[in-house]
């Protein structure tokens, strides 16, 4: 340039073409670090009932939004996190046959969708407990382990994660700290062998988690177990030039 007077600056008025608009939208999504273009989600009849993970995440969102507005306190993990992801339980295995002790329940999650470069700040496993009358009014110990290695001829190697003590009549969401396991899973996705949950009575007897009132995949959608990961971004998303 440099020849002749410069025209007065105006915003570009040209309408974008379909392809240009699509490219631009894709670029904006990339800047936001969001996955590709919107895709219409299937809505089967079962999904009409709200699921536990989205409900919990919506509560978190409101906590964040209100915290932003009021400057009020946030949930402890939230303050240190840029990203919170919920994971639906993919596979559930039970070992609750009467003749086989101890009883346990195993849960698996698909963590492959976690964006690269995220650092785990905390992770929780959430399972709903209904009041149980079997045994009546007893103290129960619920422990969570990570399955570290499986063996064909003997019991799997386990790593202790968390222990919660509650009454058999309690009804609430039970929150177990699984940060250590998710940290390892993030480093090596192939090493995700699941989480194993045990219930013991005060006198040390193993108990079927289902009988203790802990709900699994067969529960109503709003009470199904899920996992929540809190992450901190280690870098900004890279923007690919068009």
């Amino acid at each position: 340039g440099g020849h002749g007077p410069r025209p007065p600056y105006v915003f570009p008025q040209r309408r974008l073409g379909v392809q240009e608009r699509r490219d631009l939208q894709r670029e904006i999504l990339a800047v936001l670090g969001l996955p590709e273009l919107p895709r219409r989600r299937p809505s089967p009849a079962t999904s009409r009932q709200p699921a536990s993970a989205p409900l919990f995440m919506l509560d978190l969102y409101h906590a964040v939004a209100n915290g932003d507005d009021d400057g009020g306190p946030l949930q402890p993990h939230l303050g240190r996190s840029d990203l919170v992801m919920s994971f639906v339980n993919m596979v559930e295995r039970d070992c609750t046959l009467d003749y086989q002790e101890p009883h346990w329940k195993e849960f698996h999650f698909d963590l492959t969708q976690i964006p690269a470069g995220e650092i785990v700040t905390a992770a929780e496993f959430r399972i709903y407990k209904e009041p149980s009358t079997h045994p009546l009014n007893t103290t129960l110990h619920v422990s969570m382990f990570e399955v570290v290695q499986e063996h064909s001829n003997r019991e799997s190697d386990l790593f202790f994660l968390d222990l919660q003590t509650l009454r058999s009549g309690d009804e609430k969401w039970l929150v177990l700290d699984i940060t250590a396991a998710s940290d390892r899973w993030l480093l090596n996705h192939k090493k995700d062998l699941g989480l194993r949950l045990y219930v013991e009575t005060e006198d040390g007897h193993s108990m079927d988690p289902g009988l203790a009132g802990l709900l699994g995949q067969q529960a109503p959608r709003s009470k199904q177990p899920f996992m929540v990961g809190f992450f901190r971004a280690s870098r900004n998303p890279v923007r690919t030039p068009r």
């Binding site: 600056y9 990203l83 992801m85 969708q113």
Partner: protein, 140 residues
Amino acid sequence: VVRPLRKKRQLNKTIQMQHLNQHLGIFDDGHGSRGRDVCRRHELYVSFRDLGWLDWVIAPQGYSAYYCEGECNYPLGHRMNSTNHATMQALIHLMKPEVVPKVCCVPTELSAISVLYYDRSNNVILRKEHNMVVQACGCH
């Protein structure tokens, strides 16, 4: 989407922005009469609904992003956080206005929003998106 505001609200907003801009030294006394050209923040509502993103964005349905428009007139107020580059560009513009444009009016302070959305596996994600809302405009 630029939504027309009700007159009273718009007036209040303008007054609030004038206070903010004055604090930042954007309004210069020498150019106070050229209100239209002064670098200031304007209303811009980004609607995820209008973008057709509500298929996967759960919340919010939209947010006030704002944008900056106007010219950065020199000399700047002494509180203006101008870069050396901006100062030099302003100087060259005075000498050769047809070659080099005036320094741009840009966001100088931005804040984050939180977005709740589904990923490809129908997991739900809550992400803090930084630098999404213009808090103040100025020249850098």
